[in-house]
């Protein structure tokens, strides 16, 4: 039986660019911004990095999809660099590659960097993309909000929840994230909103309104990882380690076979349980101090609370409205503003979440600092509720 990744790898340094509409910044500019912060934080030199993983989810940023953009932008010294891409789980995938390389002993110090430049397309929302030669011929004409909006119809039907009540809980999710994002200088959206604003905003995809959608942002985030021994040798104290890295990928069951009712994310449930097992977590509600979940849309965050076992099934609306996941609540969610307000540059998001964990554990989170945070869960969901990739990372103090 494999022993898992728990405590085998620690974070040596992290960096994150300002997220937002970075009209004047190229992908390379964003990468350098995150990387320079990360390198300074790690206290090493560029030449000490032995391997790299590059995550970018949408554009190839070079001639074809490859690791070249990272190596070129950072002028890395011809080290092995791998491009990874797994939709919205891309950032976590880059991190996983680097962590596994260190854990395997293949190298001592590895870099993971994710970037996305979404604001070069000329319109709001994610770029309209092909879904592949075959799928384009029969897939529904869906946008990202359109695909996730369906969670609301499934959830309402299953739990008999009134439209207005669900919309109010969805609004609460966004109001909370805006309040958190307002305290984060690197966040894309930094204005607080009211529940009325969220409820009355025009529909993007029923019942998802404008304020139920996350920011579409440019940005980059990056981590340098190593072993606990090397980190200590380099003079690091207050170590932050990887407790679990899990991935669950749909196999067609939800879309083509099972009685999945569209009210939850099957892969999240599977990945969460695997991650708890890997991290040795028996009672997530008591042990997890904070979460950064894939709040691409407010309804996704709401159902994810149940999928992560942080709310009872059918009770997320109650718990959300009760403030359980607010900054001062039972288990704060998106203390940095989340995808909603920090922003969602696809390839960077998983690493951005870990960046916030890292700051919180080191007491460097400024106005949004939580007291005594020990264990954080990060969740990404790439794709669509009926067919997706879920990644979960659990990060904590190395004790």
């Amino acid at each position: 039986m494999a022993s898992g990744i728990k405590d085998k790898v620690v974070i040596l340094g992290m960096g994150c660019s300002k997220f937002g509409e970075r009209w004047d910044a190229s992908p390379a500019d964003l990468m350098v911004e995150a990387f320079e912060e990360c390198l300074a934080d790690a206290g090493i030199e560029k030449k000490d990095i032995e391997m790299g993983w590059f995550g970018a989810g949408i554009d190839a940023y070079n001639v074809g999809s490859s690791a070249l953009p990272l190596s070129l932008a950072l002028r890395l010294s011809n080290i092995p660099v791998t491009k990874v891409e797994n939709m919205c789980a891309t950032g976590t995938e880059a991190f996983r590659g680097a962590v596994y390389a260190v854990a395997s002993g293949a190298c001592d110090i590895a870099l993971a960097l994710g970037v996305e430049k979404l604001k070069d397309v000329g319109y709001g929302g994610l770029p309209q993309r092909t879904r592949g030669v075959e799928n384009d011929m029969f897939w529904p004409n869906l946008s990202a909000p359109g695909s996730f909006a369906q969670l609301a119809s499934g959830y309402r039907a299953k739990h008999g929840i009134d439209k207005t009540e669900l919309k109010r809980a969805m609004a609460h999710v966004s109001v909370k994230s805006h309040a958190n994002g307002a305290k984060n200088p690197k966040a894309h959206l930094r204005r607080e909103i009211t529940e009325e604003q969220a409820i009355n905003a025009p529909y993007i995809a029923e019942p998802i309104g404008l304020y139920d959608c996350c920011g579409v942002s440019d940005g980059s985030a990056c981590a340098i990882v190593t072993t606990p021994e090397i980190a200590r040798r380099l003079g690091k104290t207050d170590l932050v380690s990887v407790k679990a890295l899990q991935l669950a990928v749909s196999n067609g069951d939800e879309a083509s076979f099972s009685d999945w009712d569209g009210s939850y994310l099957k892969t999240t449930r599977i990945a969460a349980q695997r991650a708890y097992n890997e991290a040795g977590i028996k009672k997530p509600r008591e042990e997890i101090s904070m979460t950064e979940v894939h709040d691409c849309f407010s309804i996704t965050e709401l159902v994810t609370m149940e999928d992560l076992q942080l709310s009872d099934e059918g009770k997320a609306v109650r718990d959300v409205l009760n403030g359980d996941f607010d900054a001062g609540g039972r288990i704060p969610c998106q203390i940095d503003g989340g995808l909603k307000c920090f922003g969602h540059p696809i390839g960077a998001s998983g690493l951005r979440m870990i960046y916030e964990n890292y700051l919180q554990f080191q007491g460097r989170a400024g106005d949004r600092q939580l007291s005594n945070a020990r264990l954080a869960l990060n969740h990404n969901l790439g794709g669509f509720p009926h067919q997706n990739i879920c990644s979960i990372s659990i990060i904590g103090r190395y004790e």
């Binding site: 092909t130 011929m137 029969f138 359109g146 119809s153 029923e206 067609g252 879309a255 076979f257 009926h386």
Partner: protein
């Protein structure tokens, strides 16, 4: 006995109020106000001659075994493809198999009656039944008389020996190069000559001539005709022709200009389906088709006429309607204005023909798979059975699913994605008996979709590849009863 054995009809649900057309255009031509009565049928953006033909064909197949169809003729002057046999697309969407004769018949308003005569004169095909589908989606100029009076629609007929509802008695054709209107190869719009000349020198001379010849040949009298079908966008002309011929006024089949408009080459067959629904056993039916001469065909209703009724039929198709007052949307759907699509509408829609051919069973036939090992029904059909407890390799038999009823599991109305008629509705559909698919919806009226709502499937345009003049089709779900 040989003759018509089945029929089916399709009229687009959307009915544009003629007052809306007049409101937009009478500043230019005040005479349009005089025509502004009732409504006309209008194709949705995702409907065309092929999709309407499939709908009418499906209705006809509610009376006919698809396996018995040995020939399919598609008649229209608005075929989406000039070189790609449109009838083959229709036959594959109807799952008629790969052993049948197919043919497109075009280039005249009597295309459908001429095709029908050919089928009737050829006798029964090897497999027993032949099927005619007539379908028309004509474009017309903004603010024209044609825009006011025309409509879109399709009809289908089965011809054979089994279950004859109208016995074939004979036909006659009078041919003359009478050019009342035309559409050249470089134009998508018609050019018409004067209405009065068309009536006096066209209808009133040509139709009586052919009809009289046929009646003489058949030994029948005009006064015996109980149903006289003559499609025309001239409201009073069919009665005038009937009078000249000696056909009783009450035998003239109303062309439903007020409720749907005249559907071009499809209209004679569509009006014949209306006549078949009204006919009593023994009734004599004359069908006339006018265009560079006249086709006339005689039928006599059998005692089966009231027993064999299609699922929807003409009355059902006419009744299934949705009022539309939006003239601008009509112009947009018919490409009569250059419209802003937003940047999302700019995505390249390349048509990958090799992949399309490989996927034809799914795309055109909506054929899924049924696992021989565990019985699981699944669509798309893939290599391994999707049931995790089975997972058998290459274990699925073809399983046609286009006729299966389904229910909505999840849904939304998407205003972000590009759609010609936003919001775009789609969701997860679960089929009765098994199988599920995330798919587009069409013909959704606001407020009509909810989890659990019953849906039926319809063959529709999925995407236009305007850059290369291609269009792709697939199946969409529609709330039942809409």
């Amino acid at each position: 006995m040989f003759g018509i054995t089945a029929y089916g009809a399709y009229i687009p649900r959307s009915r544009l109020s003629r007052a809306a057309i007049a409101d937009a255009n009478d500043w230019f031509d005040a005479s349009l106000r005089g025509l502004a009565k009732g409504e006309r049928s209008v194709c949705n953006w995702d409907e065309d001659t092929i999709t309407m033909a499939v709908e009418a064909g499906q209705d006809c197949l509610s009376l006919l075994d698809a396996g018995s169809v040995g020939a399919l003729y598609l008649a229209s002057t608005t075929l989406p493809f000039l070189d790609r046999q449109n009838s083959v697309v229709v036959s594959q969407a109807l799952n008629l198999g790969d052993r049948l004769r197919t043919m497109d018949v075009s280039a005249s308003q009597r295309a459908a009656t001429s095709a029908l005569i050919t089928m009737l004169e050829a006798g029964g095909p090897d497999k027993g039944s032949a099927m005619l589908v007539a379908s028309e989606h004509r474009r017309s100029k903004c603010g024209s008389r044609a825009e006011m009076l025309w409509g879109d629609g399709a009809a289908a007929l089965g011809v054979g020996n089994e279950g004859v509802i109208a016995e074939y008695l004979g036909c006659e054709t009078y041919v003359t190069d009478f050019v009342d209107h035309y559409r050249g190869e470089d134009s998508t719009l018609d050019y018409e000559w004067e209405e009065r000349w068309i009536r006096d020198e066209g209808y009133l001379k040509s139709v009586p001539l052919a009809a009289t010849r046929l009646l003489e040949k058949a030994g029948l009298k005009a006064g015996d005709i109980a149903h006289f079908v003559l499609a025309s966008d001239q409201a009073k002309t069919p009665s005038a022709v009937a009078k000249a011929l000696g056909v009783a006024t009450e035998a003239v089949v109303d062309n439903r200009i007020a409720s749907m408009g005249v559907s071009g080459a499809a209209h004679p067959i569509l009006m014949l389906t209306a006549a078949l629904e009204a006919a009593k056993p023994g009734d004599l039916i004359m069908l006339a088709g006018f265009g560079q001469g006249t086709d006339v065909v005689l039928f006599r209703a059998t005692d089966q006429i009231n027993k064999r009724r299609p699922k929807t039929g003409f009355a059902g198709a006419l009744e299934r309607r949705r009022t539309d007052e939006n003239y601008n949307r009509f112009l947009s759907f018919n490409n009569l204005v250059e419209r802003e699509t937003g940047k999302r509408g700019e995505l390249d829609k390349q048509s990958y023909l090799a992949a399309m051919y490989r996927k034809r069973d799914l795309l055109t036939g909506f054929i899924g798979g049924k696992c021989r090992e565990c019985g699981t029904i699944q669509i798309p059909k893939e290599n391994y059975c999707v049931n995790p407890d089975c997972g058998a390799l290459h274990s699925q038999d073809d399983y046609p699913m286009s006729a299966l009823p389904g229910r909505v599991k999840t849904w939304t109305a998407d205003r972000l994605t590009f759609d010609w008629n936003p919001p775009a509705y789609f969701g997860l559909v679960e089929f009765d008996g098994g199988g599920r698919m995330m798919m587009d919806f069409t013909e959704v009226e606001a407020g009509s979709i909810e989890t659990g709502v019953a849906v039926s499937l319809h063959f529709r345009i999925r995407q236009f590849d305007n850059q290369r003049g291609f269009r792709k089709y697939f199946w969409k779900a529609t709330p039942s009863g809409q």
